[in-house]
Symmetry: C2
Subunit: 410 residues, 2 copies
């Protein structure tokens, strides 16, 4: 077996055993591209080996998707098939685990009429809201991970030869998800313990606000009463642990919807709906986005903010040391799954119910009353750098260093 | 553009314009394997170009399917997801067209526990019965066509080199579907007219019985009152023409369920559920199968006959001259779509409602009362050869030659 084959096998085991943590008799749903067939076949095999009853693979193809955006009539983007939404709801109600293996190029939808993209995001977001609740409240196990496509690899490694690009991206992914280590499952246990230490520290401190400063950034974020910092492993309704993202280097919580004030500048490009938004600043007043500027993709960013009322507010704040392994790799993946784990970030849109005490059992109204934002969208953007400082503000107004020069201060 | 590319483009146009005949604003559903991606992408493009609103591609993968048969628990084959059945029903109710591009090797499920296969066929057949009614009564447009997979090509051309096998199968398919002709659409029009001539002749004759004789075969098949011979183009509920199979060389009708007597011998192997059944004879008494013998796959054939009550009876009789283009190619495709068009054949199982006057509007009970068989399955098997004679028996007992030495006698 080649080194590549060994890493691929270890990665497939991680996806099944640590990622969604498939249980005996469970159904696994895999959303993936036909580009990832070799890896997917290994994942399917490992899932049945640990006792899965059904593995349903929902294959897609980037070319077919792009062809629709280019050639279908406008009406095609103003409706979303109900049967597709019912399908995933039914599977989630039955306790299935959901794995997404992403591989699309960030440029997939470059040049597409942005109306088509935003219309489709809206109707899909609305139709899938019930399913999204299953995922975002961790009722079922889910895991997002990645595999290279040719186009994505070419974007990440434009200077390498065509044959090398995919190999280089595989290597970067294997490193980021610790699949290249001798005992990846143990490596994830250690990593999980380390992130949980940070989580416990921050939950004990129970800061009232965080104050971010960096070039182009001066932002204060109030935290809601009962907010919970979380990170690494999650636990579903059945008590099964799972890893929602692979890689994951972040600890995160929710902001108080109306408690965000000031200005923040991006430090990495944001790939959104197949387009790139870069070098942007966002200004907040009492939580609401009141101004956005972008050197690239400003129109796309404005449309993102205009998705619904909730997309004018933040739903997540996440801390990642600038010296994370992914950051150290110096690879810009043009993919949130990786780039968010290289940098402090925020998310526009929906807040995670599990980031507030008792939140998993609250209705949407109760969550809003507790200061959590509600939206059909949730989009991360990167703000961290080695010049970022963050202070924690306690109830008595005193401050403590949380981040200094882009790294943990404690 | 290479010759191959040209043929592939022409084949994609045939699939869209002649096969399902996609209409403006219509939804097209494509069931296919990831092996056929290159061809599928062309089909999708052509479908949008002629005005399709949505093209949904349901990709599958032979390796993933086989892995399930090898590794999933027994229970996995005793249930079929309701949401999958609802999905296709909803699409059919909305007037979608359905294209299946088949490519699996006939050996795909070789060695699999036959209980798993027959259990799954039963639950799938039951769950999909409402959808099957849409298809088998031609309410919606549908088309089955083929594209090579590596394994299928290796089965058909075992003596060719690995690189040549897929190319040879493509060439054989292009020839069979007339995609290699200068104007394939016109070629299909001529072909359609020719088959309709035979259909009209047979409908005018309105034989009461057919009497088949050949080595190992002496079979009398009674035809129900009001039976209709059909062939080539079909017409859906909306009045749109379509071609249910590409290729198609047959004219066919339904037998009287209880009017089949005698013995028939197969002349080509039957590929069923990933297994091969070969050199078999079937004996009928008053329509019911009372004995089967097979040199290869006898157990599989017995299970097929035991699927349900209706699978003990015939549902289709089809006439194909032994000198059809596919027969002349001398290629054994190990695939019913092709092999049935090289030979006279019969089908075990469900009868087509449109093969009897007024049948499209009859309930299941009315169809049974008129002598049509009802089953969850429908499986063709080949009985034609250059030694086959068929006589038509008129109401007054007189006979006329229909087939002589494997070819049309009129």
């Amino acid at each position: 077996m080649t080194n590549f084959q060994q890493n691929l096998e270890k990665y497939a085991s991680l996806a099944v055993e640590v990622g969604v943590n498939v249980q005996k008799g469970q159904t696994l749903v895999i959303n993936t591209s036909i580009d990832s067939a070799e890896f997917v076949r290994l994942v399917v095999k490992k899932a049945y080996e640990v006792g899965a009853k059904h593995v349903y693979v929902n294959w897609s193809d980037d070319t077919v998707n792009r062809t629709k955006y280019d050639l279908a009539p406008d009406e095609a983007f103003q409706e979303f098939p109900e049967w597709k939404a019912r399908e995933v709801e039914t599977l989630a109600e039955g306790g299935a685990a959901f794995m997404s293996i992403v591989s699309s190029s960030p440029d997939l939808l470059k040049g597409v009429n942005p109306d088509r993209i935003s219309n489709f995001q809206k109707v899909a977001g609305k139709a899938m809201s019930k399913y999204r609740q299953f995922i975002q409240s961790d009722k079922v196990s889910w895991c997002v991970l990645a595999a290279p496509s040719k186009d994505w690899a070419a974007k990440v490694f434009p200077d390498a030869s065509e044959e090398e690009q995919v190999d280089l991206l595989w290597d970067a992914i294997f490193k980021a998800v610790r699949a290249d280590q001798a005992d990846p499952v143990q490596a994830w246990k250690d990593h999980d313990a380390n992130l949980h230490e940070k989580v416990e520290y921050l939950n004990e401190k129970n800061y009232q606000k965080l104050h971010y400063t960096a070039p182009g950034t001066d932002l204060t974020i109030e935290l809601p009463k009962g907010h919970l910092w979380v990170g690494a492993g999650s636990v579903n309704e059945e008590g099964t642990t799972f890893m929602a993202n692979m890689p994951t280097e972040e600890v995160f919580t929710v902001p108080l919807k109306t408690g965000v004030n000031g200005k923040v500048s991006s430090t990495k490009p944001l790939s959104y709906g197949g387009n790139v938004i870069d070098n942007f600043t966002i200004t907040f007043e009492n939580g609401r986005i009141v101004d956005v500027k972008a050197e690239e993709g400003e129109e796309i960013l404005k449309r993102l903010v205009d998705t619904d009322e909730g997309s004018h507010y933040l739903g997540e704040i996440a801390l990642v040391p600038h010296e994370s392994p992914i950051s150290q790799s110096n690879v810009l993946f043009y993919n949130t799954l990786f780039d968010e784990n290289a940098s402090n970030h925020l998310a526009i849109g929906n807040a995670y119910a599990f980031c507030i005490e008792g939140g998993k059992k609250m209705s949407e109204e109760e969550l809003e009353k507790n200061g959590l934002n509600n939206s059909i969208t949730h989009v991360d953007f990167m703000i961290g750098s080695d010049k970022m400082n963050i202070d924690g503000v306690k109830e008595d107004g005193s401050t403590e260093a949380v981040f200094r020069d882009g790294g943990w201060a404690f």
